[in-house]
């Protein structure tokens, strides 16, 4: 079942008389029950898309349906179905976690009694009981993030949208958040999250879409996307021996499982099909040629390679 579907969803702004197309046309669908990652460099249109999906921005054109409801026609009903945690979070600093949660529940029309019960549930589930009655401005970054997440979950939404949920979090809180996202997902919540961390998308998301320059450039499971990139990369560092380097190069070029080879100084970079099987063979060949290998590195294709292939740029460079 599809829980979120967009067709050519677009947004343009008029900035000083000039038309800026922030999102040129996003078409994607998110299945109920999955963790869907929305990946892209800053300025690619990630945040604008998120703001359209959360009813904060009115799309210029295109269509979107969330939980079967038309986003453009019935934004109010869409708001009842979705939970949203923005990058800023948005908890009221002067209020405690409990007060924030109860008020948020009241926003959804939950009765005061039920709001109180739900707040207690969430405080326990997110390990906030100890600090439940302190003003949330005194919380640490990680505690604050837990409260933000609880606020998005207060009405048990079917679809939870997270905008850069781990940005600026310490590693421990980040690991906790990953676990929490997996737990929520296991309990049946569909998660749509933006991120510019490749490892996060890789580890957490069952499917993802990469956006660049206002358009989806590729969509699929992390594995399927990475499979589009041919081969693993092996990098060998050799002890400096001028002539022998060329000997090794000649030797390796005869091997059919090696797709390409680059030789520079003492480093040889190879692209092979199955790196883990090819590596022992290659090491044995070099050893037989009496050349000493000093370092070995095997790298599998990353989502960064996927991005590089699709856009011609590295995501890491674009993000800066």
């Amino acid at each position: 079942m599809i829980i979120l579907e967009t067709k050519e969803l677009a947004k343009s702004f008029r900035v000083r008389g000039r038309l800026v197309e922030a999102v040129k046309g996003v078409t994607m669908n998110v299945q109920a029950g999955e963790i869907f990652g929305f990946l892209g460099p800053n300025g690619a249109g990630k945040t604008t898309t998120m703001r359209m999906l959360t009813t904060l921005l009115k799309p210029s054109s295109g269509q979107a349906t969330i939980a079967g409801i038309d986003l453009l026609q019935h934004s109010r009903q869409v708001r009842e179905k979705i939970g949203y945690v923005s990058q800023a979070g948005g908890a009221e600093g002067a209020c405690s976690a409990r007060e924030n949660l109860i008020l948020q529940a009241r926003f959804y029309g939950i009765t005061p009694h039920d709001a109180n019960v739900r707040a207690n549930e969430l405080l326990a589930a997110l390990d906030l009981e100890q600090i439940a009655d302190r003003p949330s401005s005194s919380y640490s970054g990680g505690q604050r993030r837990r409260l933000d997440l609880a606020l998005g979950m207060v009405h048990k939404p079917k679809l939870l949208l997270l905008d850069e949920p781990t940005a600026a979090l310490d590693p421990q809180s980040r690991a906790w958040l990953w676990a929490e996202v997996r737990r929520l997902n296991a309990e049946g919540t569909t998660i749509f999250m933006t991120t510019h961390y490749l490892d996060e998308a890789d580890a957490l998301c069952q499917r993802l879409a990469i956006i660049d320059d206002g358009r989806i450039v590729v969509e699929g499971t992390p594995d399927a996307l990475k499979r589009q990139i041919v081969g693993d990369t092996i990098t060998l560092g050799l002890q400096f021996q001028p002539e022998i380097g060329h000997t090794v190069q000649d030797l390796l070029q005869q091997q059919s499982y090696i797709h390409s080879l680059e030789y520079a100084e003492q480093t040889i970079r190879l692209v092979v099909d199955r790196g883990s099987e090819a590596l022992p063979l290659i090491l044995r060949l070099i050893d037989d040629a009496n050349v000493q290998v000093q370092t070995v590195e095997l790298s599998r294709p990353s989502l960064d390679d996927v991005f590089l292939k699709q856009t011609g740029r590295s995501l890491r460079e674009s993000a800066n």
Binding site: T54, L56, R79, G89, G90, E92, G93, A94, F107, L151
Partner: protein
Amino acid sequence: MQSLRDTWLLFKHYLTMTMRNPVMVIVGLFQPVVQLLLFAPLLEPIAGTEGFPEGGAIGVFTPGLLVMLGITGSLFVVFGFIAELRAGVLERMRVTPLSRLALVLGRLLRDVTMLLLQALVLVGVAWLMGLRADPAGVALSLLIVVLLGLLVSSCSYAVALILQDENTVASLLNFLILPILLLSGITLPLTLAPDWIRNVAGVNPFAYAVDASRALFIGQLEHPAVWQGFAVMGVLSFLGVFWAVRSFRQGVA
């Protein structure tokens, strides 16, 4: 119905927040009270001169201070609001099914309530200093102050949503506040002013509020300044609230 329920919910919330940290409310009262204590006595000698309105020094000065309280107090609501914008609080609320109208009305109701409390304290202090005004007139002039507060608060929110930056807002306020106050005839009545200043003040809506309040304080409920003041403040506050509601509905970063 939902708008009413949500407005009440947000009003209670904002009121609790203000009561928890009432510094701004007290600071807002400080200036008019000091003016009353330290400036009103200076007016005594000129209260008898030709052109000075009826009502004596304190009777003329207090209604002016009420208008000043309405302007300055309501302008400064934007600082808390911009901090809230930055923390994403409003954005979080906008993704819930809360009525869009309530997002504005809840705040405005809180602002007006606090303004009314401050105005009552101010009138109380003036009374202790010897003010003897027409009670019905005072009540009606508080209504004018409420309309004025609605106008200034809602315009402040709309402007804050455009500028979204404390520093820009602060310089804008500094730029506007003194001419507005002087051209309203708050400290010294405009009846003492040369013609050209009176003409400029004729387009200053706050001058109408001051004139109406002064007439009301001396019990001249049928004075033309009264209905003019109500008309100007009524129409403008309606437009102001309309502007704020529109701004809240549209883009909020």
